[in-house]
Subunit: 243 residues, 4 copies
Amino acid sequence: MSGQRVHGPREGRRGGAVGRPAGRLAAKREAILQAAVAIFLREGYDRASVDAIAEEAGVSKQTIYNHFGGKERLFLAAVEGERDRVATRFASPPQSPPPTAPAAAPTAGGGDGAGGARPAPGDARAALAAYGRQVLAVLLEERASALRRLIIAEAGRYPSLRPACAHGEPESLVTAGAELLRRRTATGELAVPDPTGAARQLVALLVQRGLHASTYGTQPLAEEAAATLCDEAAELFVRAYRA
Amino acid sequence: MSGQRVHGPREGRRGGAVGRPAGRLAAKREAILQAAVAIFLREGYDRASVDAIAEEAGVSKQTIYNHFGGKERLFLAAVEGERDRVATRFASPPQSPPPTAPAAAPTAGGGDGAGGARPAPGDARAALAAYGRQVLAVLLEERASALRRLIIAEAGRYPSLRPACAHGEPESLVTAGAELLRRRTATGELAVPDPTGAARQLVALLVQRGLHASTYGTQPLAEEAAATLCDEAAELFVRAYRA
Amino acid sequence: MSGQRVHGPREGRRGGAVGRPAGRLAAKREAILQAAVAIFLREGYDRASVDAIAEEAGVSKQTIYNHFGGKERLFLAAVEGERDRVATRFASPPQSPPPTAPAAAPTAGGGDGAGGARPAPGDARAALAAYGRQVLAVLLEERASALRRLIIAEAGRYPSLRPACAHGEPESLVTAGAELLRRRTATGELAVPDPTGAARQLVALLVQRGLHASTYGTQPLAEEAAATLCDEAAELFVRAYRA
Amino acid sequence: MSGQRVHGPREGRRGGAVGRPAGRLAAKREAILQAAVAIFLREGYDRASVDAIAEEAGVSKQTIYNHFGGKERLFLAAVEGERDRVATRFASPPQSPPPTAPAAAPTAGGGDGAGGARPAPGDARAALAAYGRQVLAVLLEERASALRRLIIAEAGRYPSLRPACAHGEPESLVTAGAELLRRRTATGELAVPDPTGAARQLVALLVQRGLHASTYGTQPLAEEAAATLCDEAAELFVRAYRA
DNA sequence: GATGAATGAGGGTTCATTCAT
DNA sequence: AATGAATGAACCCTCATTCAT
């Protein structure tokens, strides 16, 4: 189907030192993982066939078995790898939002979303709303959504995925939110006794409503809807923690 | 699996009446649906085999095809039926919690959780927490959790499930929450300008944290954890809407 | 598919004498046979499903079994009935060629094809050619071709069809050909010692070449090709039996 | 059926050479085709099951799918291969008739059937009759007959078989017949202006009458009947083309 | 006599996995 | 270490046929 059968990773050094087969090996391994992620995310565990993954990766089926031992282990490796990759992206939220994101674009004007800019005084509500937009943008990104659905679907069968399931609302976002609340407390706008706990609640509220509104990422979340969700969340927290 | 091949539902035929063929038909249809729900919830769409469903239902495979036309249509009928059943149960939350529930038991002693008792003055916080326990108990019930995971997993492939996905946090719980907030506003304890909107936020917050803590219902939610979640949520809303 | 479900042959007398269920019976039997012929000819024995025949006939499947006992017996009844019907049509060749005929139209100008007109003297060759066109038109008719293919396909399995296979080149055409040769012998144009034997050869020659050229009736036989075949056959027989 | 499960074609490996994997592959492919021909010819397309073919070939079912992709493609490959094989046999008619042939044995003593011996002068009629016996023997051979029936049966569904259907009366026999007529013209016994066209007619006549008499090869053609057919055909052509 | 529902067997096809090279 | 070929088990679905009304 894809056509571009790669019979061996030729991109590297073939003429020079014959050594370093490890590079070749790792390259193949990486190609397999990449293909596996793509197909598992698109098709789900059962519908994904090892044949398709092998073809997409440009390797033989047996190579997959040599590297990973079986479909299950390949699945876990692929999903956990992707989970880590997504978590890393959470840690440093994209300055330029991914083009495929069906969620609301951040467009956080001058606020201190998660970027860590200096706080503009007097608009804690706007700052919280902008933060919410960031959270939604990051969590509803297409790949992240597909990964979440996949993990939720298989969490019952593969217990090792459950931590991944928990990481769905990653600590890094909570940390950023807590920092925001702390700054606004410092300016005297808010009075948040437990910023981390409050941030955890804020993220949970945003995530649930965002997932609900986009049916867990299977449909794009309208810009307007995202704005409303974030404004309402900001309003709630400002009310609760106003100084 | 179950093995007990029932060659004809003999439970009818009672009273010596003519036999009500319609009853027989509906009974078979119901048996198939019941078996389908059980197996789809346990195994997921792809792993569930029509053979297994037929055996569990005590009918022939072809009978399933006569009634539903194919695996896909059977799946949708089963899931949508179960969704409605669960929604109905939401509407009138169980007074006695189901014994299989891995989630937190309500234990809401004298509070006005969702039961609609008269409000005990002065303990809005406790009332909200008790309400939260009800919400968690109902939403983390085993069957409801499995159904949710199934719907989330297949929402991408079967768009007709998406409304079911949205119904995952049903309006009836929101209504009950709004009513609670309204009553507490009436007593002067709270001042909630938009009780329905606030209830929606409260449910979302509870649900997300509950799902997160129980990894979407694959693990029982510890009593203590549930209590903490509910207390924190109650605290937030009391802070935000204190009179 | 066909939609026009006939739940009972209503075309007859319902109000009058309640008697004569035989007519109803025979009507249903006929409807089944008609549907069976249509579907067997179109699909072949194995691909034809009893379900499809029942639907086409507007009766229940079990009715078919009541009448015919099984698929095989229904098949034989249908094919043999159709064989007789086709043979009858051979006996009195159509004056107006059937509109669906993919074969060459007769267009036998003034000749004595099989119509039995008086012989125009001096053009035995043309008369034979015209006769050939009649033969091809009749034998390559669409239904006749489908029936032939069906009989040939199943002759190995159902010996009772073999006579039908033999009847594929029916005696009535041979008789007409023999009569033609006899008339031309009477006029002194030809000298045919054994007209029946010669006619049998002529029919065989025409049939084989016609079937070959139309790939056993699966493709229409071009007008030109039919003309050539018939002219060549006429030439051969005129050469052989010229006076 | 055959039961003798061969887990790997061990017939190779001869000579202690390296093993020729290509040979192994081709051997398996050939075994599948052989089994497919046998079963398709015996059972027809629909009744032949891929399971049965796999068992007969001593391979796994999936191996068939690996090689041919599906039942239809296997069918076409098998039939077209057999058609070519039969055509090859036509080209060099068997000196010793196959033992399984239910058709008339040639018994053509010293004549110049198709063997190409020098023409014995004065017996053009006998030569033509002997040629006819050869044609019948070859065309009514058991496998050739079964193949013809199969092709006729499926020509409507698989257009790619139609050429095979046309090749049913192969050019090589026509060529041999034309050569015979030409030689007899050279000796002055006959005067055939268009030997090829005449041979085509002769073959058609023989084939049709032979198929008719043997019900398309489902019954053996009696020796006597074959002799009569051939004699009559020879008589016709000698009459038509006598010098 | 006719119906709709039910049956058990079997069909083609695809899968995850393992040899043999 | 990597490949192409091969395996056996299973899957969804359809069929001809028979109860029960």
